[in-house]
């Protein structure tokens, strides 16, 4: 694929949730820095994968990208146009173009609405997309596209399995013909055999409709499978970004290296060959992010400089793609 023009550009995106203390007089007492300065670019028709562990801010990032949350700071541009401060009608127009698929197919569908109503609801909000008389037909078409029986429009979510429910969520996201779909852990609640069906579906829809995906997941294998480019997130920041080849074959950030080495590979003969980095400790709280490099408390390379100076996500002589580590370098012993 040739690099297309960026349709979504995000710079310095930040979301802090204030922490308060006291009941009568609420005083600010720090903040949870869920997303803390994220830059990313999404081009038409490509998939940008975001990987990270729980608490790294990837779900907040998803909500910011679909304008479900207002950023504390930073800019969001669609096709070069700044949409950061928009509200009302202008924001509604932007939202039409960016849709979301949620993680949990059980709680993200209203149990009292029929599948037809769920998939057709976007047309109620954006009536200009489909005139009233055409909606029934459009909904059936959408169900067919995601591999569900169009005859089932009058059924309720509980009559479907987890994988089928996720297809309903995908049909709803496609209703308005968006250019961008943000998928937050879309397959992690599904069984392996069903997960593969949904991944294949997402790939097919991307080809058919020329969608651009932001695919957020904790499962590194799934992200690699579907992504053209990958960003690795840690405590609210992207610490390394590059093509899937660069991130998975030539990682330079110690966190990416540790993360990749920890992934269980379904091949017992790999047991002996693997060279694992076992990180000690847990991810620090996003309300109390370490000074300097935010990964230094678990890093096997940490030196005094890491405590004082926060590394920027940039190119290094030893790292051909952006990496937020002072000592970014490929490992000599490969996994």
């Amino acid at each position: 694929m040739t690099p297309a023009e960026p349709i979504l550009e995000v710079t310095g995106l930040t979301k802090h949730y204030p922490l308060t203390r006291g009941v009568v007089r609420r005083r600010a007492a720090g903040a949870v820095r869920a997303v803390d300065g994220v830059d990313l670019t999404l081009r038409a028709g490509e998939t940008l994968g975001i990987v990270g562990e729980s608490g790294c801010g990837k779900s907040t990032l998803a909500r910011l990208l679909v304008h479900l949350e207002r950023p504390t700071a930073g800019r969001v541009r669609h096709r070069g146009e700044d949409v950061t401060g928009l509200s009302g009608r202008a924001l509604k127009a932007v939202r039409r173009n960016v849709q979301m698929v949620f993680q949990d197919p059980y709680t993200s569908l209203n149990p009292r609405m029929t599948v037809g109503d769920i998939v057709g609801e976007p047309f109620e909000i954006h009536p200009e997309v489909a005139p009233k008389g055409e909606r029934g037909r459009k909904v059936r078409e959408l169900l067919d596209v995601v591999g569900l029986n169009p005859e089932h429009v009058n059924r309720y979510p509980h009559q479907f399995s987890g994988g089928q429910r996720q297809r309903i969520g995908i049909a709803r996201a496609l209703a308005l013909r968006p250019e961008i779909v943000v998928a937050d852990e879309p397959v992690s609640a599904l069984d392996v055999s069903v997960q593969a069906q949904v991944i294949n579906l997402l790939a097919r829809l991307q080809r058919e409709f020329g969608l651009a995906y932001v695919f957020i997941a904790h499962d590194l294998s799934v992200v690699r499978h579907i992504s053209d480019r990958v960003g690795v997130m840690y405590l609210g920041r992207i610490v390394e970004t590059g093509t899937d080849e660069q991130i998975y074959e030539h990682p330079t950030h110690p966190y990416t290296q540790a993360l990749l080495s920890a992934v269980p590979v379904p091949d017992p003969t790999a047991r002996a060959r693997r060279d694992r980095i076992i990180l000690t400790g847990d991810v620090p709280s996003p309300a109390d992010i370490p000074t300097g490099c935010r990964f230094r408390t678990r890093c096997f390379k940490a030196r005094p400089r890491c405590t004082e100076e926060s590394p920027l996500l940039q190119l290094h002589p030893t790292a051909p793609h952006p990496s937020a580590c002072h000592y970014a370098e490929e490992r000599t012993t490969r996994t």
Binding site: E53, S54, S161, G163, Q164, D191, V192, S193, V194, Q195, A196, Q197, I199, N200, A203, H218, L220, S221, V222, R224, H225, I226, D244, Y248, A258, L259, L260, A262, V263, P264, V265, P266, D267, P268, T269, A270, R271, R276, I278, L279, T280, D282, V283
Partner: protein, 347 residues
């Protein structure tokens, strides 16, 4: 269930010792749940054998009956709605299913212990972690309170919880997910049981923490020479630690094999399908070979081979004849009429 299987051990008491006789020997286990919507046949004739010092992984998707099997073996199945309708669970030669509840209770914790997926709901939220661990020694061993406390701290140190003496005074919610799972492991290990059943022990954890906990579990298993039954849906985790794998589908074991054999050449189309379904870090493909269709409802299991509606190899006899677990080579079994073809195509 098992046909022409040379491994079937001679009848009589099997002492769970190092001579290879099974520590745990489950035969023909059947469990059903009687609900308003009908009878859900969760486990339909499961045979399992675990030797001392061996790690057996029970692999399956949700609804395959893997957790229910574990609960029946541990004797913690909710009855009703669950009912054990057949089979034997022999532990060191004794059939647990005919044992009085009082004796079973004494076995639990002391000789066989369980690690759950969700440590937060498995631990008591109003007792400190130290007290909960100490309770094991107080109840089962009758040690003094002081001694029990000391043993608890020792255990926490053992599972590498930093600053164990101080953390023993903390409550479960004050621990991170990985640390809580270590507490669970400590509790399971407390009385040095011969068998541990771990039900999805790392599923709720992040990848980096998952690796820490799995390593710890494998190391402790070696150290204490315990039998370990690892219940999981994750083919990756299994490949890293298991000696043998039993794959479950719709309440039956459809394939059982040493871990290397199973990954190299699966002898059942379902196992093959699972392996082809997972995206792999070490090879990026275009389209995944997904298994078509959905797992069956346990209230309405298809006749014949339960996998036939989703199976690419299904033929007429699969619709009517339930395949037994055929001996598909040395030390492995497959419940597919066409296991020879599967092996042939895989090799």
């Amino acid at each position: 269930m098992r046909h022409d299987d040379p491994r079937t051990p001679a009848p009589g008491p099997a002492p769970g010792t190092a001579d290879g006789a099974p520590l745990l020997d489950v035969r023909g286990l059947r469990v059903e749940f009687r609900t308003r919507d009908g009878v859900a046949r969760a486990v339909n004739g499961v045979d399992l054998r675990v030797a001392a010092g061996e790690t057996l992984a029970v692999l399956g998707e949700s609804g395959s009956g893997k957790s229910v099997t574990a609960q029946a073996v541990m004797g913690i199945l909710d009855t009703p709605p669950g009912h054990i309708t057949g089979g034997e669970v022999r532990f060191r030669g004794r059939d647990l299913l005919t044992l009085p509840e009082e004796q079973r209770r004494r076995l639990r914790g002391a000789e066989m212990a369980m690690i759950f997926q969700d440590a937060l709901s498995a631990l008591n939220p109003v007792l400190t972690v130290g007290d909960q661990l100490a309770e094991m020694f107080l109840v089962h061993r009758g040690t003094s309170r002081r001694e029990a406390r000391a043993r608890a701290v020792e255990l926490m140190d053992r599972v590498r919880i930093p600053a164990a003496a101080q953390r023993a005074r903390d409550y479960p919610h004050q621990f991170s997910g990985g640390m809580r799972q270590r507490v669970m492991i400590a509790m399971a290990l407390a009385l040095e049981p011969a068998l541990i059943i771990a039900d999805e022990p790392t599923t709720a954890l992040d990848v980096t923490v998952q690796a820490q906990v799995m390593d710890l579990l494998a190391e402790l298993r070696r150290e204490y020479a315990m039998g370990l039954v690892l219940i999981t849906h994750d083919l990756g985790v299994v490949a890293d630690v298991a000696d043998r794998i039993a794959v479950m589908y719709a309440g039956r074991i459809v394939e059982e094999a040493p871990v290397h054999d199973l990954y190299k050449a699966p002898a059942h189309p379902y196992t093959r399908g699972l392996l082809d379904s997972i995206p792999r870090l070490d090879r990026k493909g275009t389209e995944l070979d997904a298994i078509r269709g959905l797992p069956p409802s346990l209230t309405d299991i298809p006749p014949g081979c339960a996998f036939h509606p989703r199976c690419p190899r299904a033929r007429d006899e699969c619709l009517t004849d339930v395949p037994p677990l055929y001996a598909a080579g040395e030390d492995r079994g497959s419940a597919c009429h066409f296991w020879r073809e599967c092996l042939h195509d895989a090799g």
